[in-house]
């Protein structure tokens, strides 16, 4: 009986995904841009039907059913996805129905990815997301974005090749692809095939996620994609690799590896962000440093997992807002460098950047502050210190765009700023209400001190110029293999 009761939310969620994908295909076939709006409404309606979530479910009967899980992470992304889609839809409303069909398909893929608990199902959905992402990044068919899209495609194909090999090893050892069953078997990494397989799975997914160095397709792609697309990538679709890493570290004992990747990517991205002058590339490098928080939380698991879920949703909201505001401002002004943009942005872009910046820098009482405090309180001390340092670095690198926050003339594109801004404000209010612990004066003082320290660091680093090496495609491909090899050796030694 319990089984039949649990099936209904699963049915509603699957129906929501299928509706999204069907409307995407209809849009591709020329049914009009309205299909995107219908899909947004359908997605929210389906979420309302299964909103409290379901612990576990399967699609299809045993033994080949695909495992699904409607946990907090899935509910959060389902609530977020239509909002980000709406902002992107509004900004690109003059584009063709084909474009909107592709966007709808991409969002539908993301909705399916967050539900999936099956290794091969994740593989298909991540690959589909990469293909759609590569098409959308290069949609305008100008040569630089096409090159960025091709780099993304090549690297994600390499990552997925590595993933497929890992999948084969894990399946050969455990005889199942369902992450739920794998978690129940609670395997150690002692069998060599399993240690190597798990390492390959983690590295392959990390390439797709855009982790530092092995996923360095990300900055160029985010810099050159159309504004609506980059909002969608930063606010939703780009996080699917992170979600997959979270699912892997829930089932397989790869948590420490994921957390270590998080620390590396956090500081690596920060170093590149500190000295970057191009606004969009700066924001993109900064995404990497924010991945640090998420991967540390997901990798450590336990209570920190909840903190990371919270942080990921907050991050999607304010990072989507930052990219939307920055991109629409650049569209209006026509230059990309931060110093040249100062005082020239339209009001919508200026306000959007301001809200996003204050939030990401951790200024109380905004979403970034709440999320950082919540996550920081749940991770053990060496990691908590690393995260505090990252927070100071975030404030330092974002001090650079303070001159952009005095908008000059014109209104600019308010639509997406309003959607995502409401999301950030609503999330902040909800966070403060549900986590009364962060309201104490001590936490406020600590957060303000971190912001001030960050500004001081900014005053120091802007005097020096560090020539950072340019990372090329071949370096990244080699780094993927080296990372996979190192992780496999580490797992073999530990196992």
């Amino acid at each position: 009986m319990a089984g039949t009761l649990r099936r209904e939310p699963v049915t509603a969620a699957v129906a929501g995904v299928l509706l999204y994908l069907a409307l995407g295909v209809a849009g591709l076939l020329g049914a009009g841009r309205g299909t995107g709006l219908l899909a947004i409404l359908g997605g929210w309606a389906s979420l309302l039907l299964w909103a409290p979530g379901f612990p576990l479910g399967t699609l299809g009967g045993p033994p080949w059913g695909v495992a699904l899980a409607g946990d907090t992470l899935a509910v959060g992304f389902w609530a977020l996805a239509p909002l980000v889609h709406a902002a992107a839809w509004w900004h690109e409303r003059h584009r063709s129905t084909t474009f909107h069909g592709l966007v709808t398909l991409l969002v539908g893929t993301c909705l399916a990815t967050v539900l999936s608990r099956d290794l091969f199902n994740l593989f298909i959905l991540l690959d589909l997301g990469s293909l759609l992402g590569a098409i959308l990044i290069a949609y305008d068919l100008r040569s630089r974005p096409v090159w960025a899209g091709l780099r993304y495609l090549l690297l994600s194909a390499l990552g997925m090749l590595v993933y497929l090999l890992g999948l084969g090893l894990v399946y050969g050892e455990l005889g199942t692809l369902s992450l739920v069953q794998i978690a129940e078997l609670a395997p150690g990494l002692a069998p060599p095939a399993l240690g190597v397989g798990a390492s390959l799975l983690v590295v392959g997914t990390a390439v797709k996620a855009g982790v530092f160095l092995i996923g360095f397709w990300l900055p160029e792609a985010y810099r050159l994609a159309p504004v609506g697309v980059v909002t969608l990538l930063a606010g939703l679709a780009g996080k699917m690799g992170i979600v997959a890493l979270a699912r892997l570290s829930e089932a397989l004992p790869v948590g420490p590896a994921v957390a270590a990747l998080g620390v590396i990517t956090g500081f690596g991205g920060l170093v590149y962000a500190l000295w970057e002058r191009d606004l969009m590339r700066f924001l993109a490098y900064h995404i990497l440093s924010q991945y640090g928080y998420m991967l540390v939380g997901f990798g450590l698991g336990g209570p920190a997992f909840a903190g990371a879920v919270y942080y990921t949703i907050a991050h999607c909201l304010f990072k989507g807002l930052l990219f939307y505001a920055g991109g629409s401002g650049i569209e209006a002004v026509g230059v990309r460098e931060i110093p040249h943009l100062a005082g020239r942005l339209p009001r919508a872009a200026g306000w959007g950047l301001a809200l996003g910046t204050w939030s990401i820098a951790g200024l109380p009482p905004l979403a970034g502050f709440v999320a950082k405090e919540f996550l920081g309180g749940l991770v053990p001390s060496p990691y908590a210190w690393a995260l505090t340092l990252l927070g100071v670095g975030t404030a330092a690198s974002f001090s650079k765009i303070l001159p952009l926050l005095h908008p000059a003339r014109g209104h600019g594109a308010w639509g997406g700023v309003l959607f995502l801004g409401m999301g950030v404000v609503g999330f902040s209010a909800w966070g403060l209400a549900s986590l009364p612990g962060v309201l104490s004066p001590a936490t406020w003082g600590k957060a303000l001190a971190a912001v001030v320290a960050g500004y001081g660091l900014f005053l120091l680093v802007r005097r020096v110029r560090v020539p950072l090496p340019k990372v090329e495609l071949d370096h990244i491909s080699l780094a993927v293999l080296v990372a996979a090899g190192l992780l496999a050796v580490a797992h073999l030694l530990v196992g």
Binding site: F120, L141, L164, L165, G168
Partner: protein, 123 residues
């Protein structure tokens, strides 16, 4: 083919493909390398399904043990995905060849500044 020999051949193919992917500078060579590597991964999954003395996993072929059907199903999907990726990548390579007059990765990576459009530009 025996399972172990299949797995060894698969790993050799993956190595060869990845070597080509990293060492060659030409985009077409890179794509070829990627595809050879992907074929290696596919062969690896198929060789996992092998059981000594098993028949192909097709219903109605008679009694006796059959090979594991699941990897075969996965492989079909993986081949389709590889095909789609290769097709899209080739479209991009054709576009870059026409607009940038090069397939050399190093030149594409190191060209700074604005890239003038030789084709029609945005659609």
């Amino acid at each position: 083919m025996e399972g172990l020999a299949g797995a060894a051949l698969a790993i050799a193919l993956v190595g060869l493909g990845l070597w080509t992917l990293i060492v060659r500078r030409n985009l077409i060579w890179k794509l070829l390398g990627l595809n050879v590597g992907a074929s290696g991964a596919v062969l690896f999954l198929v060789s996992l399904a092998h059981r000594p003395g098993a028949r192909p996993p097709i219903a109605g072929l008679g009694p006796g043990p059959s090979a594991d059907p699941l990897p075969h199903a996965l492989v079909l999907t993986a081949i389709v995905i590889d095909f789609a990726t290769l097709a899209l990548a080739l479209v991009y390579v054709i576009f870059l060849t026409e607009s940038r007059r090069t397939q050399d990765v190093r030149r594409l990576e190191r060209e700074e500044g604005e890239w003038p459009e030789r084709l029609g530009g945005s659609r």
